[in-house]
Structure formats: structure tokens, C-alpha cells
């Protein structure tokens, strides 16, 4: 597969030495979905935002990210703006923050269409309604005349997906797009994303391993600003190699199994963003840690750990 998005040694820092993203490598192929999974403060959202120049103003971004050969890092705002929506688009957790609360839904979609191709207003509105239908919004013509607050969270997220896909971008970045939704609605929005991104590269940010299973082809697990494990969704979920990935998977209760005593936990907590970390960042919380872990392990064959769990030793759950 030719890689559409190639991220190399991406770093995002705030002031001297406070690195929140500490050298991330990622690739996403055309039609492929890469889930970046991790807990709060691991740098997953910042990684996604910085690809499209949407990082906070105080952040410094270095490294490289190419989209079909075009370098994204260090581009001017004007060039990035041309790129957003046409070649790459993004959806967020809270659609309300992206929608104009005082403008009818149909008009907002039509505004985006106007940027992509010149059309008469009536044609744009008609196409907006078609787009809404295409993302499963029933009674779209009536919904198009409504204000954002009159739609449910799930419907607003469908609207955002329709806007994001309106320009047929090569890359869609989705930052926790279903986290605020009810589980039944989440299942529907994930199915919609799966179906509508068959030919689009999807970079999907989430904290939820269950959502990973529903959407991803490949997975990158982040911890303290670094990718600590990467592999196919089957490899990572069924036979995790990094002790952090394994512990994270164990600590999630299973709706299909009766309760059996205490839930396995990971002692301690994630390091603060920008904390100075020497050696393996997971070392203070890791059962396997020893003196070798004082040196930071590189990502080798999909895992950044001196003592990875071997795939062979794990039974498929």
C-alpha cells in the first residue's frame, strides 16, 4: 500500500523542554484507518491537530508530515487553509463547537459547498440536503432548515461528517468523534464512518479500545508523547506486546463476562504533560521494569520496550 500520510519525528513543545509530543512516527495508507489510542495527556490530539496547523498558538511543531508528498509542517496559514477541506478534513468530539449556532444547518453545509465549487444558491441548498441524506439524516429537507441546537448530538456529528467529506478529502482526521454520544448512536456513527471512508485515509483518535476494535485497520498506542506500540488491530488487541497496552486492555471490564473480583489496575498515574522523562516513560508503573529501562527504548518491530511480551506466548482471547 502506498502511504498517503507519513509522519516522521513529529514533536510538539510548549516553551523550553516542555514536550507534549516527543517524536512520533505514523503512516496511513489510502483507504486505511489508523486508530491512535491513549489516555489523556498522551499527546494523541495534539499530534492530530498539529498535522493541519491547528495546534495552540503557543506550541512549536517540528518534524515532518507529508500528505501525498506535500509537506504539512511549517506551511503558512494561507496554504494550510487551502489544504483543509479539500485534501484533508477534520471532525471533533463536540460538533457544537464547529457549527455556527445562529445559522440553519442547510445554509452551513451550503457555505462549505460554495468554497469547493461555484454553484447557484438553490443548487447548493439542494446538494446540502442530498449530503445530509447520504449520512443517514432522515427528513433531511426539514432538518436543513433547523438550527444546530435543535438536532441531537448524533445528528450534529452526522452533519459534521457530511461537511468534512463534502470536498472529497484524501485524509480525514477524527478526534474522539463518538465520545460524547450514547452507545447506540455511537455504533451508528462508527458504521457510517466505516462505510464513507472506504477510499479515504482515516486517522482516528480515541481513548476507547472498544471503539478501536470497531473502526481500525491498524493501531498506534501512545503513552507520554510517544508511540509505544503499533500493529494491525488484531495484533494489538489480541496479542499486545507492550506492557502498557496489555495492562490497559486488562483494566477494561468486559460486558460479556461476569465480574470476577477486583479489576486489574495500573498503579500510579500517567506522567504530567511536559514532565521531564528519562528512559522508558512507562517504567515507574511497569512490572517488568529493570535497569535497562533507564535508557529510552526505540520503536523496533512495532514495540518500544526492552522486555516486550512475545506474541507467541499469548493465547488468543
Amino acid at each position: 500500500m502506498t502511504e498517503l500520510l507519513e509522519v516522521q519525528d513529529l514533536k510538539v513543545s510548549f516553551g523550553a523542554g516542555r514536550e507534549a509530543v516527543r517524536g512520533v512516527d505514523l503512516t496511513v495508507g489510502r483507504g486505511e484507518t489508523l486508530a491512535v489510542v491513549g489516555e489523556s495527556g498522551c499527546g494523541k490530539s495534539l499530534t492530530a491537530l498539529s498535522l493541519l496547523g491547528l495546534e495552540p498558538a503557543a506550541a512549536q511543531v517540528t518534524g515532518s508530515a507529508t500528505l501525498g508528498g506535500t509537506e504539512l509542517i511549517g506551511r503558512g496559514e494561507r496554504e494550510l487553509r487551502r489544504l483543509r477541506g479539500t485534501r484533508a478534513a477534520m471532525i471533533f468530539q463536540d460538533p457544537m463547537s464547529s457549527l455556527n449556532p445562529t445559522t440553519r444547518i442547510g445554509t452551513q453545509i451550503a457555505e462549505v459547498l460554495a468554497i469547493h465549487s461555484p454553484m447557484r444558491r438553490s443548487a447548493r441548498l439542494r446538494q446540502a440536503v442530498e449530503l445530509m441524506e447520504s449520512v443517514g439524516i432522515t427528513d433531511a429537507a426539514a432538518r436543513a432548515r433547523q438550527m444546530p441546537h435543535e438536532l441531537s448530538g448524533g445528528m450534529r456529528q452526522r452533519v459534521m461528517i457530511s461537511i468534512a467529506l463534502a470536498g472529497s478529502p484524501e485524509l480525514l482526521i477524527a478526534d474522539e468523534p463518538t465520545t460524547a454520544l450514547d452507545v447506540t448512536v455511537q455504533a451508528q456513527v462508527l458504521a457510517l464512518l466505516r462505510e464513507r471512508t472506504r477510499d479515504t485515509a482515516l486517522l482516528f483518535i480515541t481513548h476507547d479500545m472498544g471503539v478501536v476494535a470497531e473502526i481500525a485497520d491498524r493501531v498506534a498506542v501512545m503513552y507520554a508523547g510517544k508511540v509505544v506500540e503499533t500493529g494491525t488491530v488484531r495484533e494489538v488487541l489480541e496479542a499486545p506486546r507492550h506492557p502498557y497496552t496489555a495492562a490497559l486492555l486488562r483494566s477494561v471490564p468486559d460486558p460479556d463476562r461476569p465480574a470476577a473480583g477486583e479489576l486489574p489496575t495500573i498503579p500510579g498515574q500517567v506522567p504530567a504533560v511536559g514532565a521531564v522523562l528519562e528512559g522508558c516513560p512507562f517504567r515507574p508503573r511497569c512490572d517488568h521494569a529493570d535497569d535497562t529501562c533507564a535508557t529510552a527504548p526505540a520503536l523496533v518491530e512495532g514495540v518500544a520496550c526492552w522486555h516486550p511480551v512475545s506474541r507467541e506466548s499469548q493465547e488468543v482471547a
Partner: protein
């Protein structure tokens, strides 16, 4: 086992544009002493309002609540104040529910001071922080200096300060990271084992519920549509909504996406405002018949410990097994 909490026929209506809406529409429930009842359902189903009614944080339009034999909505102010010692809330967001201008020690000791605790306040605060596995030194800190998991532990320490018998936990771990969630869940279980606390555990997360609850009540648009012992209900859900809710819970396991799940066709909840004559779930239910659209099914017993509000509860099965 005796029931510590007994609610009968609770109704709570709110004025909305175009009339009133019953957020809670005839809810009856019992929670056995020292056990956990989970109230599950999606946003807007009335589970949080039910929790607030039980704690007398809201007044019901109809129905009654008894906690430890006292009718919480008809006793005098002074008695209610006394009763509040025995029932406490723990909310979802420990960022909102802790006063940012108070130290952890002040937050945890506030209920003790309000209820004129006689004894060594500092020693009691230390004891409470230890009970929730926080270092006693944290008493000097402010909430913003703590992590999310630490804050929720402070909220729990405060809630158990007066040795309550009954805690209403409203999505207590939803805002926490996965690795921290497990720590807080284990803490809640341990506190129940050690102190015999009774919980109403309000949650949308079925996996957590299966892990924590003895009994489960599933709510949909203001009503309980199914209830039963946790293991029975998970092993054999009888209401189509429970079946779909269970199927929709994301699991960290790879599955074949070519096979479409029934929940992907489910649509979204209608509002309680537009409730028509029939079953409230009928507009979304893949099994709905004409009878469902015209005749509202009552919550009826299926077995000793089981009840469901579905005309076809005995045979209902959504999708493949």
C-alpha cells in the same frame, strides 16, 4: 435482605416549550441494604433525575421515597437535614463538584463541620483520605493540583465522611482515564464490602455495571423497561432495548464488519414529549407490531426477580443470538 431504599411511582415533570415533559414517568424501585442497584440508560432517559429524587435534591410531582424507613419528601427540614448524613451523592465531574477555593482537607471536613462533628477533625480527615487510598499530605493541596482520579477520590472521601448508608453515584468514573477508572471502581467495591454502603450506581457503561451491580434497572424515556439480577439480565436480556444496548457496547475484540449489527439501523431516541399511546420504544424497535404502537406495555414480572415492559418479553430476540 431488607430494602434500605424504596421508591414508589415517582413522577417528575418539567415545563418545556409546548407543555410539560415527564423526565421520570412512574418509576418504582428498591435497593437492598448493602447492595448496588445500577440504573442504566442513554442520555435523557431520566436516570440522573431519579437519583436526585431519591436524595431529595428534587421534589417529585407524584410518588414517594423512603430511605431507612423515612419518607424523604414529607419529613420536616430538620429531619431531612439529619437524614442527609445517611445519604450522599457522588457526581461525574470531580472538576465541577469540588470547591476550587478550598483545600482537600477543608473539602473533606466540610460535612463534618456542618453536622457538628465532635472529635479530632484532622485525625478523621486523615482516616478518610486513607480510606480512599490518598496520601494524607494531599489535605493541604487544592483540587486543581490533583489528577482526575485523585479528585474523584476526594469527592468519595467527602461523601463517606458522615458514614452514610446510601450513596447515589452518578457516572462516577465516566470522566476518568481507563487505567484510573479501574482503581476507583475497585475502591467503590471495597468501601461497600467494608462499610456495607448501599449504592445507586447510575451509568451508561454496561461493562462497568456488570462488574459492580447486584441488580440492574434499565430506563428508557422516563420509565424502567427491564430489571433483574445482574447476571440473569446480562445472560438473557428480555427487552429488545436491553438487547440492543448490550449489543452496542463496544468491546475490545475484532469482529467482522461485513455483518451489519441491528443497532446500526436503530435510529435515535424520540423525545418523551412525543410519546404516543403505545410502547415508547416502538418507533425504534425492530420487532414492533401494531399492538406495540397502540398498547403501552406495563412493567410486568417474568420471574421472581425479573420484570420487563414488553408485550413479547418471553420471546423477543433482536438480531442473531
Amino acid at each position: 435482605m431488607a430494602d434500605l431504599v424504596v421508591a414508589e411511582g415517582l413522577v417528575k415533570r418539567y415545563a418545556v416549550r409546548g407543555g410539560t415533559m415527564a423526565a421520570v414517568d412512574g418509576v418504582s424501585l428498591r435497593v437492598g441494604q448493602g447492595t448496588t442497584l445500577a440504573l442504566v440508560g442513554e442520555s435523557g432517559c431520566g436516570k440522573s433525575t431519579t437519583g436526585r429524587l431519591l436524595l431529595a435534591l428534587e421534589r417529585p410531582d407524584e410518588g414517594s421515597v423512603e430511605v431507612a424507613g423515612q419518607a424523604v419528601h414529607s419529613i420536616g427540614k430538620k429531619q431531612l437535614r439529619e437524614l442527609r448524613r445517611t445519604m450522599q451523592p457522588v457526581f461525574q465531574d470531580p472538576y465541577d463538584s469540588l470547591n476550587g477555593r478550598m483545600t482537600v482537607g477543608q473539602i473533606v471536613s466540610e460535612p463534618l463541620r456542618v453536622h457538628r462533628f465532635r472529635g479530632d477533625l484532622d485525625a478523621r480527615v486523615r482516616e478518610l483520605l486513607e480510606a480512599v487510598t490518598l496520601a494524607p499530605e494531599l489535605a493541604q493541596r487544592y483540587p486543581h493540583e490533583l489528577s482526575g482520579g485523585q479528585r474523584q477520590r476526594v469527592a468519595i472521601a467527602r461523601a463517606i465522611a458522615l458514614d452514610p448508608e446510601f450513596l447515589v453515584c452518578d457516572e462516577p468514573v465516566s470522566a476518568l482515564d481507563v487505567s484510573v477508572q479501574a482503581q476507583v471502581v475497585n475502591l467503590l467495591r471495597r468501601l461497600q464490602d467494608e462499610r456495607g454502603i448501599t449504592y445507586l450506581f447510575i451509568s451508561h457503561d454496561l461493562a462497568l455495571v456488570r462488574h459492580l451491580a447486584h441488580r440492574v434497572a434499565v430506563m428508557y424515556l422516563g420509565r424502567i423497561v427491564e430489571e433483574g439480577e445482574t447476571e440473569e439480565l446480562f445472560a438473557d436480556p428480555r427487552h429488545p432495548y436491553t438487547q440492543l444496548l448490550l449489543a452496542a457496547a463496544p468491546r475490545p475484540r475484532v469482529r467482522d464488519h461485513e455483518r451489519q449489527e441491528p443497532v446500526e439501523q436503530l435510529g435515535e431516541a424520540t423525545s418523551a414529549l412525543t410519546r404516543s399511546g403505545g410502547c415508547a420504544f416502538a418507533p425504534r424497535c425492530p420487532l414492533a407490531t401494531d399492538r406495540c404502537r397502540t398498547e403501552d406495555p406495563a412493567l410486568r414480572p417474568l420471574a421472581d426477580t425479573r420484570a420487563a415492559a414488553c408485550h413479547y418479553a418471553e420471546t423477543a430476540r433482536v438480531g442473531a443470538a
